[in-house]
């Protein structure tokens, strides 16, 4: 038997495709966010609130990833924002090649901001770079305070963590300070915003941060 050295990252092909996407986004000067959470934590609600909050002050597009249906893309289009639905069938995450194929039909030229709403899942999407500039993870307070500890890889890789449904925290018996502490322990450098898409609490802080990130996109894209 002959032993042949390989030394190749298993996700190499995805990372090459992600690097190409990142070049496309940089040349279009589009800030790209990979938005991830468990199912039902409020990704689409946050997008709707963000679209309303930005109120046309930057040109925005959305790519939606779901196993089935284009209901989420319809919710976004109803607010006048161009959106493109990727249905993954049985695949539990988006990968960089799916995004590259979407970009052929949904060009980003002219967009200041593209949000890619990943499949609702706190596990696999953590491993797949899509070429984004920022990773935003939503954790719903109603899911319990221990989620960041149970899914540490996802939270570790986030740039921003939004603690959503803060209006339900007390009713769910969740201490928001404990939830935030758990986020900090797996990711000391994350920016954390407690928000409620339902009541609007905390959203202005997130929106202000996002406006600044859109303005600073040439710097974020140079990293």
């Amino acid at each position: 038997m002959d032993r042949v050295s390989v030394q190749t990252n298993v996700l190499n092909a995805n990372q090459e495709a992600a690097a190409e996407n990142r070049r496309v986004f940089a040349s279009a000067e589009t800030l790209v966010i990979n938005l991830m959470s468990a199912p039902g934590a409020g990704k689409t609600s946050l997008l709707e609130a963000t679209i309303r909050g930005l109120n046309g002050r930057c040109s925005m597009g959305v790519i939606e990833g779901d196993l089935q249906t284009d209901l989420d893309a319809e919710r976004i289009r109803a607010l006048g924002i161009p959106s493109y639905q990727i249905t993954t069938g049985t695949v539990c995450h988006l990968d960089a090649r799916m995004i590259a194929r979407a970009l052929a039909e949904f060009p980003v030229q002219g967009l200041d901001l593209l949000v890619i709403e990943n499949v609702g899942n706190l596990i696999c999407p953590a491993s797949y770079d899509l070429g984004e500039n920022l990773r935003v993870v939503i954790c719903s307070a109603a899911e319990g305070a221990e989620k960041p500890k149970k899914y540490p890889v996802m939270f570790h890789k986030a740039n921003v963590v939004l603690l959503n449904k803060t209006d339900l925290a007390a009713a769910s018996g969740v201490d928001l300070r404990e939830l935030e502490k758990n986020v900090r322990e797996v990711n000391p450098s994350a920016t954390v915003f407690p928000v409620s898409c339902k009541t609007g609490a905390g959203l202005e802080m997130w929106l202000e941060w996002l406006r600044q990130a859109v303005l600073a996109r040439p710097l974020l894209q140079r990293r």
Binding site: M1, D2, R3, V4, S5, V6, Q7, T8, N9, V10, L11, N12, A13, N14, T90, V91, C92, H93, D95, N121, I123, C124, A126, S127, K149, K150, Y151, P152, V153, M154, H156, R184, E185, V186, N187, P188, S189
Partner: protein, 127 residues
């Protein structure tokens, strides 16, 4: 460390990637039969060993790796503080704040997902 009820599809696409990388290398070596694929799998990834082993059994069908053995070396997570150095305190759960000074810790190992080598049938074995 990571809950293990993830969809098996996740590990299936990982298993397919492993096989594609191994097959490309085997073709470079003009081999049609891969006998061993050795990978290094970090503890601080989202991949569950048992699920990957199961997925590999399915994904290897009708490939050059159809009789190959998947050898998995688990790489433990290790962390380091820029001020205090390596942290050896056992971690009951992931906490990336230095237990001595509280500064953020750097993950220095445990994120690996790498094909190390393959073993293929040698010229002499091929009749």
């Amino acid at each position: 460390m990571v809950e293990s009820y993830s969809s098996p599809m996740h590990e299936i696409s990982i298993a397919q990637n492993i096989i594609e990388i191994a097959e490309a290398k085997a073709r470079e070596e003009n081999s049609r039969c891969i006998q061993v694929i050795k990978i290094r799998l970090g503890e601080f990834t989202t991949i569950v060993r048992e699920a990957l082993e199961f997925a590999f059994e399915i994904a290897r069908q009708e490939t050059l790796a159809q009789t190959a053995k998947l050898e998995i070396e688990i790489v433990p997570m290790s962390v380091r503080c820029a001020v205090c150095g390596p942290v050896t305190d056992p971690m009951r759960e992931v906490c990336l704040l230095c237990p001595r000074c509280g500064l953020p810790l750097e993950v220095v190992a445990g994120e690996e997902l790498q094909v190390e080598y393959i073993e293929v049938e040698s010229e002499a074995e091929r009749v």
